[in-house]
């Protein structure tokens, strides 16, 4: 039975609320570096962390991909997190190979978890099955798996003290996730969302020039419903045989849908969003 991990990736989450059903918190941001800096540097955060630790809860740090223009600042912030007593045993979730490598250089024994941005399966496409349905059965079985299920990769990541992964859950990837668990890694699944894409800019910023955002405006999720696809010859109606996530959400620089309705009790962690 998995433990519940609550993601704290917004400004102004309710630090007074009663979190009885939650066993751990992951603090930071999965995809937006600016939001990451803001969340992690909130006043009162350390008080909250200490209180939750006293109550026996685990604290984790969730980090996004790191654009070059923020690399130096990110290194400083990560350095101070690694030095901070109350994050001493915190797992850091990474979504950037360079950051993973840097953390391993400055804090050799720091445990890490690979984030969703660094993992892939053809089964993640909304029409995943259509991609491989024409292949021989044994190929179908393999390409539906998650690419972390690979002895070369698992051994390599162990060297970086990666001991967990964080994933979107699909029916086709389940068998490989169980094998990954057998190989000694923890598998944490997202129950709150299914990530389809990450963009370089937050759409609020992108759509209005004077908006420098990544405050609270972009914490609101915009609902999208597919209207027309675009091909080389122009726009066309979505054919009936194509399943497209509906609704699709755009929040900050993330594009996501609802998590698939699959029981996830056999996994190690279940990640939920803060209210």
């Amino acid at each position: 039975m998995g433990t519940y991990e609550m993601r704290i990736d917004r400004l102004g989450f309710d630090i007074e609320q009663n979190y009885d059903t939650i066993q751990s918190f992951s603090i930071g941001h999965e995809s937006c570096i600016i939001k990451f800096f803001k969340v992690i540097q909130q006043t009162d955060l350390l008080d909250f962390v200490r209180r939750q630790k006293e109550a026996g809860r685990e604290i984790r740090i969730i980090t996004p991909f790191v654009p070059e223009q923020h690399l130096d600042e990110m290194k400083e912030v990560i350095k101070s997190i690694c030095k901070e007593e109350c994050f001493k045993d915190s797992v850091i979730i990474v979504n950037d190979f360079g950051l993973m490598s840097y953390i391993h250089k400055i804090d050799e024994n720091r445990k890490m978890c690979l984030g969703r941005s660094l993992l892939f399966s053809f089964d993640y496409a909304p029409w995943g099955h259509k991609i491989y349905e024409n292949e021989p059965e044994k190929i179908q079985k393999v390409v539906a798996q998650i690419n972390f299920y690979d002895d070369e990769k698992m051994e390599f990541y162990r060297g970086y003290h990666v001991s967990e992964i964080e994933v979107n859950l699909t029916a086709g990837t389940i068998d490989s996730l169980k094998e990954i668990q057998k190989a000694g890694f923890k598998v944490n699944v997202h129950k709150g969302s299914f990530l389809y894409g990450t963009q370089r800019s937050c759409y609020i910023r992108r759509c209005s020039a004077e908006q420098n955002c990544c405050g609270t405006e972009c914490e609101y999720a915009e609902e999208l419903e597919i209207e027309e696809f675009w091909g080389g010859a122009g726009y066309y109606k979505k054919p009936d045989d194509i399943a497209f996530p509906n609704p699709l959400y755009l929040r900050g620089n993330q594009i996501y849908g609802k998590a698939h309705d699959i029981p996830c009790d056999c996994f190690d962690g279940i990640i939920v969003d803060a209210e």
Binding site: D96, N134, V143, W230
Partner: protein, 310 residues
């Protein structure tokens, strides 16, 4: 050293056209009998539009011979990112044999986009130079150093980076740097699950350019966030010493891409010879470029899109 132009090829005819248009490097993949439609090369053997993105051995070998006779380098697309364990390990073994076949047929370098594959290729004793594909997300100097340790000689920097970021990376590393020119995905490399041209028969087009209904019934292509044009930036890219400019399009009729190749080649040569470019004259070669691809959609200029980058 002159900045090279790297272009896709999916037929002999396309190779001839692209090389005549000015390609210095071409890249292509092979069909593989393990698959009916998918491949080890990050593009379907046959797309939903009926385009053959990869080649059969014989045609591949003919292209290599032609390219080498014109001093053009051949990069081999071994950039699948979905290699996992399988019964008897047939899947990875199939990948390694695929690469060995490409090398045997004359490929000069490999494009690899999966960490497990990078490791497995070297363990196999394959010494061919490797380019880190864009799915390996070389967004920053730390990642570039990380990939260097995995024994690559060149990094293909993904879309969605600014000129200043490329500059910081280029100044930091002695690896070769390749960047994209032209349209790509609106999402970050490796973080887009709207896969297309991978083997599906359905036509999903380019999903990040689709139109969506939003609140108040507003309809917009709200996810469209990838710029197109690098013509205007040729002088500064050249001065920075970028090693190679990459055009995508193995899933299209590559003969059509040759027009774009020619336009970029003209710009590079003009700058190399005269120290400046006549932007208007160069762009006039493709009538729709000025209004559809440039200005707000310039890739490495200070546009409002790039200013919105996090």
């Amino acid at each position: 050293m002159i900045m090279k132009l790297k272009v896709p090829v999916n037929s002999y005819e396309a190779a001839v056209k692209q090389i005549e248009a000015g390609a210095d490097e071409i890249y292509m993949g092979l069909e593989d009998s393990h698959f009916n439609r998918m491949s080890y090369s990050a593009r379907a053997q046959i797309t939903s539009q009926g385009v053959h993105s990869n080649l059969r051995d014989e045609e591949f070998a003919r292209i290599v011979e032609y390219a080498h006779s014109k001093n053009v380098t051949v990069d081999f697309t071994a950039n699948c990112q979905h290699v996992t364990n399988s019964t008897d390990d047939f899947y990875r073994e199939g990948f390694l044999e695929y690469v060995e076949r490409g090398i045997h047929l004359g490929a000069d370098a490999l494009i690899v986009a999966d960490i497990g594959n990078l490791i497995a290729l070297r363990k196999r004793g394959i010494q061919t130079p490797i380019i880190a594909g864009s799915y390996l997300s070389g967004f920053n100097r730390e990642t570039v150093d990380f990939l260097k340790e995995l024994d690559v000689f060149r990094i293909c920097i993904p879309d969605q980076v600014t000129f200043d970021e490329i500059k910081a990376i280029k100044k930091h590393t002695d690896l070769e740097i390749e960047i994209f020119i032209g349209y790509g995905c609106s999402n970050l490399a490796g973080v887009c699950n709207f896969c297309h041209n991978n083997g599906e028969k359905i036509n999903v087009g380019v999903p990040c350019r689709a139109k969506f209904k939003m609140k108040h019934n507003k309809i917009a292509n709200i996810l469209d966030a990838c710029p197109d044009c690098a013509i205007c930036s040729i002088p500064k890219l050249y001065d920075l010493g970028i090693d190679s400019l990459k055009i995508i399009g193995r899933e299209t009729d590559c003969r059509e891409v040759a027009e774009i190749t020619r336009m970029y080649k003209t710009a590079i040569q003009m700058y190399a010879e005269a120290g400046k470019i006549d932007r208007k004259e160069i762009i006039s070669a493709i009538p729709w470029w000025e209004n559809n691809m440039c200005h707000d959609r310039c890739k490495y200029e200070n546009t409002s899109l790039l200013q919105s980058y996090l």
